[in-house]
Symmetry: C2
Subunit: 141 residues, 2 copies
């Protein structure tokens, strides 16, 4: 499991413990490949015979978001495993409204442009957050 190797490294590097629940939640996210809710994760794991308290799942997801191991996707609701490196800075999502598949990407030019627009409105931008929804290549028919 390459996924788990990465998890172990990130957690250890930041001084967090590598626990069973954390490994299981990451596996569930990796398996889903599209946004899943905390409740979805709980059900997925239950089917495999392992119970996690919902409080635990929320805390793990909070930690994962903090460590850039996962992202919250607002447009559809739910969390996805991060596929980009932490250093990329801004993270954007393209979600298919039909099949739910998600692609993550980063675009520096877009970031700069957005900063300028915000500046014109008197704002100093810290976080960019953008999601597009539409149809993926498979669902366009």
């Amino acid at each position: 499991m390459l996924e788990i190797q990465g998890l172990i490294q990130v957690l250890k590097a930041e001084g967090y413990r590598v626990t069973q629940p954390r490994k299981r939640v990451l596996e569930a996210l990796a398996l889903a490949q599209r946004p899943v809710s905390p409740y979805d994760i709980q059900k997925m794991l239950l089917q495999e015979g392992s119970y996690l308290n919902h409080v635990t799942i929320y805390r793990i997801l909070d930690l994962f978001c903090l460590l850039n191991l996962a992202h919250r996707v607002s447009l559809v609701g739910g969390f996805v495993k991060c596929t980009l490196g932490a250093k990329e800075g801004c993270h954007r999502f393209m979600v298919c409204r039909q099949c739910g598949v998600l692609r993550e990407f980063a675009d520096k030019a877009l970031c700069e442009e957005e900063n300028e627009i915000a500046q014109d409105l008197g704002f100093h931008t810290e976080r960019h957050f953008s999601e597009f929804s539409g149809l993926c290549s498979n669902c366009q028919v």
Copy 2:
């Protein structure tokens, strides 16, 4: 109340009734000027002595979003009264993380650029959704 005049026109034009609860929710949104949750709205109205069931508030907010009278802001959670015309197409938000003030804007050039990027990923974009958070001119000190 100019707000209410606009509401009456939009609702009548689309064949919806102009009811007390709908007028009250719009007034609350207009008064807030920043994202407020359905629960916030219920409490605001309660302070003015009028009770609305939470189900009613959810249904009214759904309708307002459909009619472009309000928007859901994901970054901070909550709803805001729409300040742009429905014809503007894509709507974007800039929220101040300090005071919560919100500015809505549209940028056609940005939309086109985003469409191109999505195209390169094989996606056909339908909805653009972008929110920036940072500091407004007042809070930058």
